[in-house]
Amino acid sequence: MDYTVIIGLEVHVQLQTNTKLFCGCSTKFNPDHPNTQTCPVCLGLPGALPVLNREAFHLGMKTGMAINCEIPSFTKWDRKQYYYPDLPKAYQISQFDLPMSQNGWLEIEIDPETRQKKKVGIIRAHLEEDAGKNSHDESGRGQDSKVDLNRCGTPLIEIVSEPDLRSAQEARTYLEELKLLLTYIDVSDCNMQEGSLRCDANVNLHVHKENGETIPTPIVEIKNLNSFRGVEQAIEYEVQRQWNEWQETGLSLKDVPKETRGWDADRGVTLEQRGKEDAADYRYFPDPDLAPVTVTNAERERVFKELCERPAERRARLEERYQLSVYDAAVIIDQGVDFADYFEAVAESSENGKQAANWITQDVLRELKEREMEIAEFPIKPDVLAAILQKVKANEITNNSARTVFQELLNNSKDVPRIEQIQQIIEEKGLGIVSDTGELDAIIQAVVDKNAKAVADFQSGKQAAVGALIGQVMRDIKGADPKMVRQLLIEKMS
């Protein structure tokens, strides 16, 4: 007897707008100054009315298109009604039967070895307003709970996947790919610490019995997962728990209503959430305060044109155009759109994609990490790095000398490094490769002549003797390629 894991994810993503979905209050993450980003509308004060944020709808459309959804020509707003102190109107403005986008998919790589891919279906992606934040007394003494409404009314897009994911790892990959995509198309910062990306997972098992029967176990919704690790661990835990439970009880989906459990990251377990007073009856109905939105073909096309190349497409293009390894292309794409743009700029003007990739995934990335810097702030701009690499390619300096130039520019430039500085540094430090082999030849001959003992040592088989001689040659003529010097020395002495 074995089982298949069935997972669907509901992901809430905060859209990058200046203001809330239905009022002009700031969406800035600001837990330290509670209740300072509110107004009559988002406080749900009597008499206040919502007005839809154009940019939020626009970002919603962009998101829907990026995950290959249809954008219907008519969409409307509904009230989802429930009582909770972080929801001042006692209803959330959301979308029920006519969401703004539906029937899409997102492709993920499910096996890095074989590079096997799969399309995860997306049922719908709709806009809704976020709630505020309750903080509870952790002491267990039943102190009052606190309510901060700064976040209340922030635009969210809720992306509901089909139950197409088959393992905790796949769920994580899907979420990572989704995050990458949404940051790429610039609709959200997806900052998980600040709650800009939150995830609920619906999990159950299809148990395959020996007699060929397949039995679905009860569905469990794991709430508010807010890290990739959390998603993976919670699902792994839940799969095991459900398997154990099924073996004990044999209960199927038909016997038990959907259960909601919370992930306790500290203890590494999912816990049953206390049953709600009544079975959820949200009494959705069209919000009479808001007008529906219609979308024309022309508008769809306009927004579609704004979509940049999405990560999966770009990854494939980098591999193809610059002959990058799968690994390098993935590293570059994963750093985000600015980083990939930087890479492409360097690759294009240095005319060597592979070399650019090596430098950027190693030297540049290392420096960014050490300096805790974004690529946009990195002082060496793509044209400057490309100019350095061109010198290597033209055999004017060695790759090692290029690193020296790179470091020198990075550490000792007062202003933003300029291309002209490269040549200055090469000259000051004598890093130029001596291409005049005549000059080099003369120096090597002189060194050989002066070091009879070392030459004898070498000739008697002591390879190490070459090292000392290389050093002498390099002292006398800066910018020589040590490899070439070594080779010439050996030729001379053999």
């Binding site: 002009g24 009582y83 509870h136 007394d137 009052d144 606190k146 009856d281 808001l290 007008a291 219609t294």
Partner: protein
């Protein structure tokens, strides 16, 4: 058939509505809701199969505001009508 709405239904709706009702109220509401619902049943005479629902009094669409910041209320004003606060937050009895 009695037009009274059964007590269980009244209690269920009261719970959904977050209304604590006295026994007298439950009783009276059962009767009154029952008679109103009976009256309302006259709509069943009408065949509305092919009729589009009309949720708004006027048909408008695509009304937006631009994504521009408006001044928020100062905190003391935001909290000014709250039954219980600590000066920073709205306070409610322990949720958990």
């Amino acid at each position: 058939m009695s037009t009274q709405l059964p007590e269980d239904d009244v209690l269920k709706v009261a719970s959904l509505s977050r209304l604590k009702l006295s026994e007298t109220e439950v009783n009276a509401l059962g009767k009154q809701m029952g008679s109103v619902l009976k009256y309302i049943a006259m709509l069943d005479e009408l065949d509305t199969e092919s009729i589009e629902p009309m949720a708004h009094a006027i048909e408008i669409s695509n009304v937006f505001r631009e994504d521009q910041l408006q001044e928020s209320l100062p905190r003391d004003k935001a909290l000014s009508n709250a039954p219980q606060t600590d000066g920073n937050y709205f306070l409610v009895p322990a949720i958990l």
